[in-house]
């Protein structure tokens, strides 16, 4: 890939982000356009900003990679990521805005009138934010590695520096415009190359992707294996090997491997002939990719895991810290609802595209399944299918989009996590403390992303959704719709539901979960942890009915009544006459 194009594109995105963030304020110099400058954000702009913030590396790169690896079962990811907003729209959007809360901790405090509930909620906001930031930074590392050959940690460090620097220096003074710009950039970056790729694919007699059998290589391909893997062959395969296979060194010799398992050493280059089936990568318990496997397995585990994914994504969206803070930008509850409706449309359109890349990747770049870099499918396709300068330019556009994805999600998350840290963790408040909080918010996931190895981004993000669905979904849904929720109930539910999901997720990623069903249960905790969170909240609330917050009726009235009923009285004196324009 031509590095110059890609680096230019990435640099342009970073520059545009900083410029819009720093200068994108509404400025007026006369009283007559004062009115325009002080107008609140309309639902369309706000929806683009929410979508821009939400469509992360998991959406831009991860879904295509998972579809390439595991086929159409993975379409539940984009479906879930979108449908979460439907639940949000119906149950949460308007009441959350009317509560006046900025962060989810604010909501806990407003509804429960309890400092303890606020503290626990803050802990979960920070935890979920970090879980979500981690894959963004790792994705950035992967992208930069593919584009320029830089070491894997460099991309993450660059994104972290840009975001933390911009946020801490006050460069994100107008984050709404930045995020809205990034949404349209991401959509363009995915849509334009997709059109070219589809045209090229039709010109190629439209070969069909096969997901029920191993992918077949279309031409002779050299594959470099970066880590030691076991591969499984269902028929003998003739190939050239430079490196070690089954413990023996080979130097560019043709070799026929028998059926069954083989061990390929790190750094080996395999030359696979055209028409060969891509060997299947066998996963072991130490391999973090393994726990996404059950979804496509044919037994009961697969069905269970699918439900786990659906529950986590449907119910987890409402608890994402960077989505929740954007409700505040809407002027009232009705505008918040309209915003989410527009988000559904925008996110829905976007998610039509990644599966296209996944399917094309299965046809044109199947060896990515062997190297474990399936997340890179989106980035390498233009060069693979179209080639030449056009391919390189399209690749650069995709790289720009991918970086926009990292930057927007990471800056949104950093802002909201830093907000919570500066309010609830650091002792005193002030602009300087917000800067300190920003650095803290970014340093922890950055440190972990540098020491930790790569995990499929869409999966890693799925974990954050599972924790969010088990902690904040019960809090928000019961807090808004059930009068009898008490502070001890909410705290117990957050700790039991969210805590158990967090523990299960951590155990899975650490590889200390047992095999079999127990493993599946812990890898997809939402199925049991969400009901557990709800039940704990309800049971403990009923047991502590005396602790009902005193202002609960007023709070619920404010959450559910439209603003013009609760707050607006007719003004004294006549209204301004119609047509009294300025």
């Amino acid at each position: 890939m031509n590095q110059a194009y890609a680096v230019t594109a990435v640099a342009a995105v970073v520059l545009a982000t900083l410029l819009i963030g720093g200068l994108g304020l509404r400025i007026s110099r006369t009283t007559s356009d004062f009115y325009v400058a002080s107008r609140t954000v309309n639902p369309g702009l706000n929806a683009a900003a929410i979508s821009g913030e939400y469509l992360s590396a998991a959406s831009f790169l991860g879904i295509a990679g998972l579809v390439l690896l595991q086929g159409p079962d993975m379409l539940w990811y984009p479906v879930g990521y979108t449908a979460g907003y439907l639940v949000l729209l119906v149950l949460v959007a308007a009441p959350l805005r009317r509560s006046g809360a900025y962060t989810l901790s604010d909501f806990a405090e407003a509804r429960l009138e309890s400092a303890a509930a606020r503290r626990i909620a803050s802990l979960f906001v920070v935890g979920i934010g970090w879980l979500y930031l981690l894959p963004q930074l790792q994705g950035a590392g992967l992208t930069l590695e593919i584009l320029t050959g830089a070491p894997g940690w460099a991309g993450g460090v660059i994104v972290a520096l840009v975001v933390a620097g911009a946020v801490a220096a006050g460069g994100m003074r107008s984050i709404t415009f930045v995020q809205a710009f990034q949404y349209w950039l991401k959509l363009t970056a995915l849509l334009v190359p997709a059109l070219f790729l589809i045209a090229a694919w039709t010109g190629d007699d439209a070969p069909r992707a096969r997901f029920d059998a191993p992918a077949v290589l279309r031409e002779h391909t050299e594959v470099r294996i970066d880590d030691t893997v076991r591969i499984e062959l269902d028929r003998p395969l003739t190939l050239t090997v430079s490196g070690s296979v089954d413990g023996q060194e080979h130097h560019g010799r043709a070799l026929t491997l028998a059926e069954g398992g083989h061990r390929v050493g790190a750094g080996t280059v395999l030359g696979l002939p055209a028409g060969a089936r891509v060997p299947t990568r066998v996963t072991s318990e130490a391999d973090p990719a393994s726990w996404s496997q059950p979804l496509s397995a044919g037994d009961g585990h697969g069905l269970y895991a699918t439900y786990g994914l659906i529950l986590a994504t449907f119910l987890g969206t409402m608890g994402l810290p960077h989505v929740a803070v954007r409700f505040y930008t809407s002027p009232d509850g009705r505008a918040a609802r309209r915003t989410i409706l527009a988000v559904l449309g925008m996110v829905g359109v976007f998610y039509l595209l990644p599966p296209v890349y996944g399917a094309l990747g299965r046809i044109y770049a199947p060896e990515l399944a062997l190297t474990g870099d399936a997340d890179a499918a989106v980035l390498v396709l233009p060069e693979r299918i179209i080639g030449g300068t056009a391919g390189e330019l399209l690749g650069a556009l995709l790289a720009a989009g991918a970086f926009a994805a990292f930057l927007s999600t990471a800056s949104g998350l950093t802002m909201s996590v830093a907000g919570v840290i500066s309010q609830d963790v650091l002792p005193s408040r002030g602009v300087r403390h917000f800067r300190l909080a920003t650095l803290l918010a970014m340093a922890v996931p950055l440190a972990v992303s540098v020491v930790a190895t790569h995990v499929p981004v869409a999966d890693a993000v799925g974990l954050a959704f599972a924790v969010s669905a088990s902690s904040f979904c019960p809090l928000l849904v019961l807090g808004i719709w059930w009068r009898r929720l008490t502070p001890p109930g909410a705290v117990a539910g957050l700790i039991v539901g969210g805590g158990s999901a967090l523990t299960a997720v951590m155990a899975t990623r650490a590889g200390i979960a047992p095999e079999g069903w127990a493993h599946t249960l812990m890898a997809w905790p939402a199925v049991w942890s969400v009901p557990l969170g709800f039940l704990t909240m309800i049971a403990v609330s009923l047991a502590t009915a005396r602790r009902l917050p005193p202002g609960v009726d007023a709070t619920l009235a404010r959450l559910h009544l439209p603003e013009d009923l609760t707050g607006r009285h007719r003004p004294e004196g006549p209204e301004r006459p119609e047509g009294a324009g300025r």
Binding site: T31, F34, R39, T40, N42, Y328, D332
Partner: protein
């Protein structure tokens, strides 16, 4: 992911969780009062009494109502160790802890009526007809406030006892102090409300006169402009004289500032240069009513009324995480910081002073002491006022005006 990283991540998560739970526990225990105290039995009894009394104080600080009396009486009865304890206002029994409310209520109110006339505490036989009833004697002590006797505390015992009389009188006196404090709270609130009203009233004469004069100068030469200015004037006064709601939104407040500046612009013409920088995210922030407009008025006074030259006024509202930061800057005559300090301390009430100190006080009252005005100024160096408004604070809810600028509807 490598094993070490995973271990570190897991450990960090667990430590955070455990730390949070422990912190909550510790704070809770501190609130409930530890029993691992080392004093003598007498000291312990004293501490216990003081603690019980302190628990009864918060409800009473809200004044004497049925709800607060019910909460307080539960705490007070253990303090006296009586069979039944009752709090009454001048007309009826508000709360009764212990048995016998059914047939004693009438008797008690008759006694209270007598006591209200005399204003002294009494110890009387309860004259109960039920021989099983443990309430044989009643001590009735007055609860006094600034405006005389507010009600009575009635303690029932099974026999006549000087200790009970003494204890009931002391508790009644303590309750009276709490009620006086409640009255003090209320009058402080009333004072602040009065200051807001004064602030509104203060805008009018001076500003109304100048505005009308400026408008009048346009009536012949540019009737259309005169009409527009009159409409701005109407909108501005409607907002400023709004009667309901302590809080408004930044968008509404900026709208009122726009109208104010349009009128000031008509008066000062080209001398007023204006720059406005708004991050639209912070427009829905709720903030105390009329807390920015006086600052702009102050800038206009310093920049235009007190100096003959051109003045640039810059108003910026920025997003800073969980806060909104509003700055109002003018290139006017500035002020001696020592004078300013005296104005903010309330020692000197100059013509521009009341606006600044009132805004400062209200911000501190609503958001705490670290959210007061930050003013940078010097003689001849202009003035820059920074206000930091938290996006959320419990109890701060805007009641939107009738014309939210550019709202969705």
């Amino acid at each position: 992911m490598t094993g070490t990283a995973i271990a570190a991540l897991t450990a960090a998560g667990l430590v955070l969780l455990v730390a949070g739970v422990l912190l909550g526990r510790v704070l809770e225990r501190r609130a409930a009062g530890p029993d691992l105290d080392l004093g003598t039995p007498v000291e312990r009894a004293t501490f216990h009494t003081l603690h019980t009394a302190s628990l009864a104080a918060p409800p009473l600080r809200a004044g004497l109502t049925e709800d607060t009396a019910r909460k307080a009486v539960r705490r007070l009865r253990p303090l006296l160790g009586t069979e039944a304890l009752c709090l009454a206002d001048r007309r009826s029994v508000l709360a009764w802890d212990g048995p016998g409310r059914d047939h004693h209520e009438q008797l008690v109110m008759a006694r209270v009526a007598q006591m209200l006339d005399s204003g002294r505490s009494q110890s009387v036989q309860s004259e109960c007809e039920d021989p099983q009833c443990p309430l044989r004697w009643a001590v009735i002590a007055p609860l006094t406030g600034e405006e005389g006797v507010l009600g009575a505390l009635v303690a029932h015992g099974s026999r006549e006892s000087a200790v009970l009389v003494r204890a009931a009188t002391e508790v009644a006196r303590w309750v009276s102090v709490q009620l006086e404090l409640a009255e003090l709270d209320r009058s402080r609130t009333r004072l602040i409300e009065a200051e807001i009203r004064a602030l509104r009233a203060q805008i009018s004469p001076h500003f109304i006169f100048n505005s009308l004069a400026a408008i009048a100068s346009f009536v012949r030469t540019d009737p259309e402009r005169a009409r527009e200015l009159l409409l701005e004037f109407a909108d501005f006064t409607r907002y400023s004289f709004r009667r309901h709601g302590e809080f408004t939104t930044l968008a509404d407040e900026l709208r009122s500032i726009e109208q104010y500046l349009a009128l000031a612009g008509a008066r000062f013409g080209d001398r007023l240069k204006l720059t406005l920088q708004i991050a639209p995210e912070v427009l829905p922030v709720a903030l105390p009513f009329l807390c920015l407009q006086p600052l702009v008025e102050n800038a206009v006074k310093h920049g235009l009324e007190d100096s003959p030259g051109v003045c640039r006024i810059t108003i910026a509202a920025q997003d800073a995480g969980a806060e909104a930061m509003v700055t109002i800057e003018d290139s006017g005559v500035g002020m001696d910081p020592a004078v300013l300090r005296r104005i903010l301390a309330g020692e000197r009430t100059g013509s521009s002073g009341i606006g600044l100190s009132n805004v400062d006080e209200r911000l501190r009252q609503v958001y705490g002491d670290d959210h007061g005005l930050v003013i940078e100024t010097g003689v001849g160096a202009g003035m820059k006022i920074t206000v930091r408004v938290p996006k959320y604070r419990a109890g701060v809810h805007s009641s939107p005006g009738c014309r939210g600028p550019g709202g969705a509807d």
